[in-house]
Point group: C2
Chain length 381, copies 2
């Protein structure tokens, strides 16, 4: 676990909560809602925590990571130096004159260190570049999250299937109007019962479905697309799942059927070329071209609202819901075996709604392993 | 809503997700899991979002906040300048040569702007200092979150009250061993059903309760303190609740009763002096002194584990679970009417567990309004 590649006098440093930084969680293994410090020097990895967190940190950190109480650092200095910033004292104690930090390192901390003559430099790219290739333990954690995710998508399908349509074309489940809010809260409650957290789960119907991140409100109408985009995070492991299906209760309109077929084909075509070595941009372009050839152009409607395929094809998933590598025009780099990415083509138009179909896959040398087993079918009787 | 106090050429800037920055949520009103930009110039407030978020941002932003599509900014420049950092282009377009940013502004962005000759300066203190005095809408949001929180504490009490104790001294609820995990997952599931999110809810029994942020594991034992520290966030408003009670099923030991009495007295004594104008440090010291006088000293046990009153007395609660003002030795400033703070004395010792009692209160000119109505009683028959 030790890092002997760092020259003496140089260290790597994060100060953040594990809520706001998945890097500090990845490096330390410690979950904390308040900021703490993680650092590496030649031959050493450590977290620095308050008295309040000391006992818990000792139990939770990854093997090879030392736990240091803030007070131990302070004790190395005379009391009159306590007015100095804590990171300045830490740097002196470990004789670090040059810190490498992640790009999201807080500016105020960097400015304070620099004012004390300590060099602070952002690493180029990711702080832990290895995060974009998952090890077997991580793959298992994601696989478990995806089993829970797919169960939730089936739960949404169940509500739609078991509902009846009233004379106003609105779904009724167990005698009550079926709303997006009800489905969301029941799905999220079931996740919590199984040790997952899901917030802002998207259950968006009709026009709401045309804004890709609109969570959806109000009664579910028959004949309109319902986008169910479900992304829970495991409370114990911190790894996310992410999956989307789009359903119509009853019969879909001609344009919705055509859009669904185009999105489904875009998914198939992009998965066909997906494997290690292909660029993220190329996979995105395959999906984009497929939908354009099916007659769906990306642009704006008369009101200036973006329409068509208005987002990237996919993103890495791990300790963050959106992480590297990206399947988007902005990523010309070859994809690596071991990356876990979403493949989620979509089409959006306020005049008929939205369609998105998202699988999560593990990229391999020859292709991919799909964590999703559920077929892509639009209409639910 | 417009800010005419900024000189021409100076702006205020945040780039973050609303998950990672409650400032950007406070300023814009827009919930987004991906980074976006919020800025203010003389007479203007705006967010800059991707095409993907444009429609939703228009619906959600606070009155007076403009929504700008990233593409609108790019269009002001020839294509060959797209290689420049987006924030550099934004600065040029609005002729800003000096940005004021929050302390947690990402270092990599600041370094890029500075390298382009643009001044970037962290504001001293909070980016929106007014956040520590809640307006009536915010107070109502917190009051609603606290109603849900108190219901959940009563739900925990219910599980303990309705359990029987088996021959091994373990609680049995509805025929099943009652575990910390079960209580946590049922409490969190119930929150989701009501539009709240709670993660890492603390239901910690016995020795686990001696580490203040240990979430707690395993069966609940009679005769041992169970710390229930419950802190949900409202999904629609973003405002948190926070409350703690400690219970013992059956009879508590002498030391636990004594610790409970000391913590309860510390709560009462510190609330007695709490009002606008008193310093955060003074309120903390009142609680600390009360517990010390009751015979509980703060220090370390023979294994080096911190014992006693090992955290601050309280913290502000709003769009963040831990925000200003603090009730701690580190806050010598007078408290203001309108602040919402937790008052949560506690005592911890691995040899018998932990006790924490937390109320959430609104500070007024004359005293405080307590959002918690539930009495502080230790033993549950």
């Amino acid at each position: 676990m030790e890092n002997f590649s760092l020259p003496t006098g140089t260290g790597r440093l994060i100060e953040a909560s594990s809520t706001n930084s998945s890097d500090i969680l990845y490096g330390s293994g410690f979950h904390a809602a308040d900021d703490f410090i993680y650092f590496e020097t030649r031959g050493m990895k450590a977290v620095v925590v308050s008295m309040l967190e000391y006992q818990r940190a000792q139990q939770e950190v990854h093997k090879g990571v030392q736990v240091i109480d803030r007070i131990e650092i302070l004790r190395a200095f005379p009391r009159e130096e306590y007015r100095l910033d804590f990171l300045v004292l830490l740097s002196r104690k470990y004789q670090i004159g040059h810190w490498l930090v992640p790009g999201n390192f807080p500016l105020s901390k960097a400015d304070t260190l620099r004012a004390s003559g300590i060099r602070v430099e952002c690493v180029s790219g990711d702080f832990f570049p290895e995060r974009d290739r998952k090890n077997p333990t991580e793959v298992e954690a994601i696989r478990a999250s995806m089993r829970a995710t797919e169960n939730a998508v089936r739960q949404v399908e169940h509500y739609l299937r078991e509902s009846v349509v009233n004379k106003d074309g609105i779904l009724v489940y167990n005698g009550n109007i079926l709303t997006c809010e009800y489905i969301r809260s029941e799905v999220e409650a079931e996740f919590k019962r199984n040790g997952y957290s899901a917030d802002r789960t998207i259950i968006a119907c009709g026009k709401d479905a045309s804004a890709p991140h609109c969570i959806g409100f109000g009664p579910v109408h028959a004949g309109e697309p319902v986008v169910a985009d479900i992304f829970p995070r495991s409370d114990p492991t911190g790894y996310w799942g992410d999956m989307t299906r789009t359903f119509v209760k009853g019969q879909a309109s001609e344009i919705v059927r055509k859009a669904f077929a185009a999105v489904k084909l875009a998914s198939e075509e992009s998965l066909k070329i997906l494997k290690a070595g292909v660029s993220g941009a190329e996979v995105h372009r395959t999906a984009a071209r497929t939908m354009e050839q099916a007659g769906f152009r990306t642009g704006r409607d008369a009101n200036g609202i973006p329409c068509g395929f208005i987002h990237g094809l996919g993103h890495g998933v791990g300790l963050e819901i959106h992480e590297n590598p990206r399947l988007s025009p902005a990523n010309p780099n070859p994809l690596a075996a071991g990356s876990v990415v979403s493949v989620e083509p979509g089409l959006y138009d306020p005049s008929w709604g939205g369609i998105r179909l998202e699988d999560l896959v593990l990229i391999t040398e020859d292709g991919y392993e799909n964590f999703c087993t559920m077929p892509k079918e639009l209409e639910i009787p």
